[in-house]
């Protein structure tokens, strides 16, 4: 990208890779090493800051500096979220039932969830329901009074969505991010040594060892369908590969509308896919730095720079960032989640130099005026301006800047409309509705064609889970066919 600097171009932290997947694939043996990311530092507009770390006692004292009540509540909140996480976890690894089908087994699955729900303590029941329906801020309002604490915590409710912190439904995404666990510890995030790419390489190594062949530089142009059954794929090079089963980890627009073709599909399915909402809303800015930025709120290059730096100074700031996007503009003052991986893993930058990755929201894929190719640098400037509010020396430190708009994310990574989760995580697109009503069980209207990407349950951001669930369905179908 820039000589001597290594970026995790798109994603930047590892958090949500399911521990059972790490275990099943024995990823540490294949070179995966996760370096913990300690804490979140949130500079405020009044020159103060909020700095939460993994050390419970310290975080408690820090929150107490803002509000004693909130320090108490923080404990309770953590416990409640763990309970919620426990309730939701088995749901993430199940194949969603079809509630409209007459098949009693689907109904039974739903009843089982219902029964587990019944067994929750009354408070947890209430939390669970509110978590599923409320906005992140409304939900956090029930616990906390400190604005900056609510603002920075609510941020994880909107990552990858086209929703604001006050939009109902965002509380659930809050939990989605809480599911992130490394070695069993809830709510801990980390970097992969060598960048996020190292994760993929570890998974690939594990897959190869198990007998998988992986070909890169092999873009697929078409999925072959004959008589309603998938028979193989055609590469862009023209090469044809026959297959008994094709499983697509791409989003449904690419899989069906581009590679299969409308005429092979039922009209209603096409209608549902066209309605499926992507609405990418985030961008990424990667910076190569000559030295570390200095934050006015807490000068120096202390440990606060080693964790996440969250530009989420107030609830109003967050919500106004969303308002811009709602009307088709990028946020003039965006929310950002910033990390400096070179502090933890010096291998990614030359000595004394640093890389800084900014996840930026909102950058709506559909701009009302202009297009992303024209707006890219203006967007990059807005990001730097918003950073400079808190770290004025950032401008002098920048050696190189790489701006990724949602359009770039679409072009580079094949994510439709630049949505990092392959489709919004809103209630009407989750569980048995993901990606389309009646097609949430990894199967598709084309026999022998499966979906295994983030556009299937449980959705993006929980790395590997859709693939694992899909593999289960696929295996059982193949066994049945053989039998």
């Amino acid at each position: 990208m820039f000589p001597g600097f290594k970026f995790s171009v798109a994603s930047y932290v590892v958090s949500l890779l399911r521990p059972e997947i790490i275990r099943d694939l024995d990823l540490p043996r294949h070179g995966l090493e996760i370096l913990p990311l300690d804490g979140t530092f949130t500079p405020m507009e009044n020159g103060d800051y909020l700095w939460r770390v993994n050390d419970h006692g310290r975080t408690r004292r820090e929150i107490a500096r803002h509000s004693k009540v909130d320090a108490e509540a923080y404990e309770e909140y953590g416990k409640a979220m763990v309970e919620m996480g426990r309730f939701v976890k088995p749901i993430l690894s199940m194949t969603p039932p079809d509630p409209t089908s007459l098949d009693p087994s689907g109904l039974f699955e739903l009843l089982r969830i219902g029964r587990r729900f019944q067994k929750l303590r009354p408070d947890d029941k209430q939390n669970q329901v509110q978590l599923m329906t409320m906005s992140a801020v409304d939900f956090l309002d029930r616990w906390f009074e400190t604005d900056v604490l609510k603002a920075t915590m609510s941020a994880s409710g909107i990552i990858g969505t086209f929703l604001g912190v006050r939009s109902p439904g965002t509380a659930y995404v809050l939990l989605h991010h809480y599911m992130g666990e490394i070695d069993g510890a809830f709510r801990s995030w980390g970097f992969a040594r060598g960048g996020t790419g190292a994760i993929s390489e570890a998974i690939a190594a594990a897959a190869r060892e198990a007998g998988v062949e992986i070909r890169t530089e092999a873009p697929i142009a078409q999925i072959r369908v004959r008589g309603g059954r998938a028979t193989g794929v055609v590469l862009e090079s023209g090469e044809e590969i026959e297959a008994a089963v094709v499983s697509s980890s791409l989003d449904p627009r690419l899989t069906f509308l581009k590679m299969v073709g409308r005429k092979e599909l039922p009209d209603e399915f096409v209608e549902d896919l066209e309605r499926y909402k992507y609405r990418g809303s985030s961008g990424k800015v990667n910076l190569a730095l000559d030295g570390l930025p200095e934050f006015t709120a807490l000068p120096g290059s202390g440990a606060h720079l080693r964790g996440a730096i969250s530009i989420s100074p107030s609830v109003e700031y967050m919500e106004r960032a969303y308002d811009d996007a709602k009307y088709g503009r990028f946020s003039r003052r965006p929310y950002m989640d910033v990390v400096i991986p070179s502090l933890t893993d010096p291998s990614v930058a030359p000595p004394g130099k640093h890389v800084m990755s900014c996840f930026v929201q909102y950058a709506p894929y559909h701009l009302k005026e202009g297009n992303w190719d024209d707006q890219r640098e203006a967007f990059g400037d807005a990001v730097i301006d918003a950073l400079a509010v808190h770290a004025p020396n950032i401008r002098e430190r920048i050696l190189h800047r790489q701006v990724l708009t949602p359009l770039d994310i679409e072009r580079i990574f094949g994510l439709t409309e630049g949505n990092i989760f392959q489709g919004e995580l809103t209630l009407e697109q989750l569980f048995f509705l993901r990606p389309a009503p009646g097609w949430a069980q990894y199967r598709t209207p084309i026999r022998g064609l499966y979906m295994c990407g983030s556009a299937t349950h449980p959705g993006g951001g929980i790395m590997g889970a859709p693939g694992k669930n899909a593999a289960g369905v696929l295996l059982s179908d193949m066994k049945r066919r053989r039998a």
Partner: protein, 535 residues
């Protein structure tokens, strides 16, 4: 003065309190209804806003009252008379045209063709889909939400019945229902239609009275709830001759005829609790009334945070009640007019018919959303979303001949303002309402004889709505059905034995007059008949 012990005391003579009274009286009890104000009706009242000009102050229509209640109380005999306007909705567009929703969907569709062929073709499907889903959901309105913890045989039976009805829907509609509930009404409207003025009208029904904009998730649930009460694609009908006050008077008359007593000017200051059970009420004048059961039609927050001693309550329940969301966003602005407003979109047409239903002011989804944005930051909308009615068109008794009254529900007017107070800024808000109406009816301001504004503060102080919320609390997904007002307390009973809720803060919620009262009365009658009378 009635002394001594009553079997049931009902707090508040709004539609829900009166329906509960009427039905409990019919079930053999002798309820006493206590109303703080000098008139019955609660939010369903007709008052004079200017000499000779009267109008419905908050609720504008009784069209969504479940017909079973109208029959059970024989309201028609007690003077309840509805007026069904020829046009259900008139919505002027920015370009001088207008969307008209008629009673007949085919008629609506033919008019929509001017905006979009596609929309004209889709409208009958939309109408049919709403009717089907409305019919499926309607029985839920008169159902007591199931007991989540210990579902009884009845609950299971009802659940299975509902499940059967759900599975009986065409698969497409079944999926729609599941998908739509949590959706933003803006997405819902866009799923059906492409023309912006029509989308805005449809979205209006999802945000009416809500602290939410059309882009807020869950607003479609609000629309579906309204559709369950009146599935008509054009929104509810049923204006009341004489205004909503007449409707309430008919309810009071029916309740009295059945054996209930209704006292006005009797403000309940507190609910007395003894040994964890409701023992009666104390009036503001000091009078004490003992009761076997106390039923509050006041909103949940007023009931538990104001009328019941916190020392008598479970702290967790109180904490959850404090978090119950009931921040009002509606102001009512009433105008006495020297003549009928002249809308540009109706130049040269029979304006009287077009304006006889509801008038939607808000030409685009984004316009409605921008109106909401202001409220999020604690200010009222500089360009409010308005729904107006001119009831004097169909009911000339409300205004002197040739003049009119116009009532506007204006959003968003948040209960708490960041700058200034509602007392200072009342007129400023009224001017904003006049401004947006004038964009469509330029001479409107010149016809105003008098203006009467009810801010959310007024709604709280005069009409007793805590937080000024016209529905006694948000119709958000987490505050509906088994969660209204709180999860575990949706069956009209409360943690205090003998204390019941029967207002809009219980299932099915606001805007459906009498439904909560009827459901509550059923549960109360069951309890009172089962339990041996205390003392």
């Amino acid at each position: 003065m009635s002394a001594g012990r009553r079997d049931v005391v009902i707090i508040g003579a709004g539609p829900n309190g009166l329906v509960a009274a009427g039905l409990l009286a019919k079930a053999g009890f002798r309820p006493l209804v206590l109303e703080r104000r000098g008139i019955v009706g609660g939010t369903a009242v007709t008052e004079e806003i200017h000499p000779g000009f009267r109008c419905s102050m908050i609720a504008q229509s009784a069209g969504s009252m479940p017909p079973a209640i109208v029959r059970a109380l024989d309201l028609r005999r007690h003077g309840f008379e509805t007026i069904v306007p020829a046009v259900r909705m008139f919505a002027p567009a920015a370009d001088g045209r207008a969307v008209l929703l008629h009673d007949d969907p085919a008629h609506t569709a033919s008019g929509l063709a001017a905006f979009s062929r596609k929309d004209a073709e889709k409208f009958p499907q939309f109408h049919a889909s709403m009717s089907k889903i409305g019919a499926l959901l309607a029985p839920l309105l008169s159902t007591t939400p199931p007991d989540i913890d210990r579902p009884g045989a009845g609950d299971v039976l009802r659940f299975l019945k509902l499940g059967k009805a759900f599975r009986g829907l065409p698969k497409r509609d079944a999926w729609r229902l599941l998908r739509w509930g949590p959706m933003a009404v803006a997405d819902f409207a866009a799923e059906w239609f492409e023309s912006e003025p029509l989308r805005a009208v449809i979205a209006g029904r999802g945000i009416a009275g809500a602290f939410a904009g059309p882009w807020s998730a869950g607003t479609t649930a609000h629309l579906l709830l309204a559709a369950a009460a009146d599935p008509h694609s054009g929104g509810p009908d049923g204006f009341v001759r004489g205004g909503m006050g007449r409707f309430s008077e008919s309810l009071a008359a029916a309740a009295r005829a059945a054996g209930a007593e209704v006292r006005t000017g009797a403000e309940v200051a507190s609910i007395r609790v003894q040994n964890g059970a409701a023992a009666g009420v104390v009036l503001a004048g000091g009078e004490e009334i003992e009761a076997g059961a106390v039923v509050s039609s006041a909103d949940p927050k007023s009931t538990f945070l104001r009328l019941v001693d916190p020392g008598e309550q479970d702290p967790d329940f109180l904490a959850n009640m404090t978090n119950y969301r009931s921040t009002g966003t509606v102001a009512m602005v009433h105008f006495a007019l020297s003549g009928l407003p002249e809308f540009r979109a109706l130049a040269g047409e029979d304006a009287r018919a077009a304006l006889s239903g509801r008038i939607h002011i808000g030409t685009e989804i984004d316009e409605l959303e921008r109106a909401f944005d202001a409220a999020k930051y604690g200010d009222f909308s500089p360009r409010p979303y308005c729904e107006a009615t001119i009831p004097s068109l169909t009911d000339p008794t409300l205004a002197p001949s040739g003049s009119h009254v116009m009532s506007v529900r204006a959003q968003y007017a948040p209960y708490t303002l960041k700058k200034g107070t509602w007392t200072d800024r009342r007129d400023e808000f009224a001017r904003a309402v006049v401004q947006v109406i004038s964009e469509h009816a330029p001479k409107f301001a010149g016809s105003i004889l008098a203006t009467r504004v009810l801010t959310p503060r007024d709604l709280e102080e005069t009409y007793g709505l805590a937080g000024g919320h016209i529905f006694h609390g948000e119709h958000s997904l987490d505050q509906l059905f088994t969660m209204r007002p709180l999860l575990g307390w949706a069956r009209y009973r409360t943690p205090i034995a003998g204390l019941y809720l029967c207002g809009s803060g219980t299932h099915p919620g606001g805007g459906i007059p009498g439904a909560s009262g009827a459901n509550a009365s059923r549960e109360i009658a069951r309890d009172l008949k089962r339990a041996p009378r205390r003392r």
